[in-house]
């Protein structure tokens, strides 16, 4: 006999091991690859140490001063360097923290900000539609006005989107308060939202092509 008898056991052990290992890896991967696991907490290092807390929080500059296109376009722009220089031509004009801003302004080469909230390329999110319905920035981006560095706080995955699309009322507010991140609804948010749903006839799509094309 070429193989001794005990090798039969080895084969069984290896097979069992493989099944266990494969199952374990698959199970863990299934949990770990959830966006609430992988994406939440993403806080890339930006080329310029810009603080939303200082600008939007302490100084109360409206989101729309820099992110101008939010009410008109599907895509919200990261402001051009020119917008930074509106103030920083004068304020802290020599600060080394702003060296890259000045360089960009002089050369015309854009600053390479790192995108924090990235949706898959097959999702077509429309900022304009959400803002005009009365979904606040804070619903998806969190209290950016309290963040020194921007961090993703919501999973932004499909089931999370659909939670709101199925029942939008608690997440709606009057449109003029959309950029007021610290707004506290005076009463039951669902009730306020239901009135907005009724007046604006809000009916978020639940079909695939609402977000995918």
């Amino acid at each position: 006999m070429f193989f001794p008898k005990w090798t039969n056991k080895v084969v069984k052990l290896v097979l069992a091991g493989a099944v266990l290992a494969g199952g374990g890896v698959a199970a863990i991967a299934g949990i770990v690859h959830q966006p609430s696991f992988t994406d939440v907490g993403y806080q890339p290092i930006q080329p310029v140490p810009y603080s939303h807390k200082k600008h939007a929080g302490d100084m109360g500059i409206d989101c729309r001063f820099c992110h101008t296109s939010v009410e008109q376009s599907a895509v919200v722009i990261v402001p051009p360097t020119q917008t930074c220089m509106t103030c920083h031509k004068q304020v802290k004009a020599d600060s080394p923290r702003l060296a890259k801003v000045r360089e960009s302004f002089e050369t015309g080469k854009p600053i390479r900000w790192v995108k924090v909230h990235k949706l898959p390329d097959f999702v077509y999110f429309n900022h304009k539609a959400h803002v005009s319905a009365g979904v606040s920035c804070v619903s998806c981006h969190g209290r950016v006005d309290q963040m020194e560095e921007v961090q993703q706080v919501q999973p932004l995955n499909m089931s999370w989107c659909l939670d709101c699309h199925r029942d939008p009322a608690p997440h709606l507010r009057p449109k003029e308060l959309v950029t007021k991140l610290d707004w506290v609804p005076p009463g039951d948010p669902a009730e306020i939202g239901r009135e907005i749903v009724r007046v604006k006839n809000i009916n978020p799509p639940l079909h695939c092509s609402g977000c995918h094309r």
């Binding site: 091991g17 991967a29 907490g41 100084m59 051009p80 103030c87 004068q90 304020v91 854009p110 390329d121």
Partner: protein, 218 residues
């Protein structure tokens, strides 16, 4: 041997999982199953290797005529469209000038919708320096920017609308140009609102309607 690998694998995977769960992470999110998350296409403002400046979106070529958004009645920031305001898009509308002189006439009508829009845009864009009343004590000034003009100065009150439009568009002295941030119709709406602010700060008893005079306190 097999069980040791299983344990190792489970440990490794849970470490990766927990590290992203516990605190903020600097690395891009882990993509175990990338699906078609990253497609070979450029989104607005994305970086691209083709052009020398690293931008995939191209800057507007000088002399480009805007087609679409601003060319018809459909206006960006389109309150004018929804308010049913038909704006004559002349040279004056975009420059504030009639020939060589600044126009004294605001192309937007004086309506509540225009004032509301002007108020909102003023508070977003101008109030940071000029403050919400217009006295030039905005947050940015308090934090070290050179003083902003008090909009209630006689100089500004007597300034033609077109000249204010030109200042918003192109900037003046310490004020940087804001034309890229505010659409022309919003600039005109802001001017309507500034005029209202000026009236409010220079009001006399005669401006109060008779029926409300009783509620005034001395």
């Amino acid at each position: 041997m097999g069980s040791r690998w299983v344990v190792l694998l489970i440990l490794a995977a849970s470490c990766i999982g927990c590290s992203s769960l516990v605190k903020a992470h600097r690395e891009p999110p882990l993509q175990i199953i990338p699906d078609m998350d990253d497609q070979p296409k450029y989104k607005p403002q994305a970086a691209g290797p083709f052009f020398g400046d690293g931008r995939a979106s191209r800057p507007v070529v000088a002399g480009t005529v805007v087609y679409g958004l601003e060319s018809g009645r459909y206006v960006s920031g389109n309150y004018a469209f929804y308010a049913g305001i038909d704006i004559e898009r002349s040279e004056t509308f975009y420059t504030g000038k009639e020939g060589d002189k600044y126009t004294g006439k605001n192309p937007l009508p004086l309506t509540e919708a225009v004032l509301k829009r002007g108020q909102e845009r003023y508070n977003v864009t101008c109030a940071n320096c000029h403050d919400r009343v217009g006295t030039g004590q905005g947050m940015v000034v308090l934090r070290g920017h050179p003083p902003a003009t008090n909009l209630h100065d006689d100089r500004i009150r007597n300034m033609p609308d077109g000249q204010i439009f030109n200042t918003i568009t192109n900037g003046l002295r310490n004020m940087m140009p804001l034309g890229h941030q505010i659409s022309p119709e919003d600039r005109w709406a802001i001017i309507r609102y500034i005029r209202a602010l000026q009236r409010s700060q220079n009001a006399t008893l005669a401006d109060v309607p008779d029926e409300q005079k009783g509620s005034l306190r001395k």
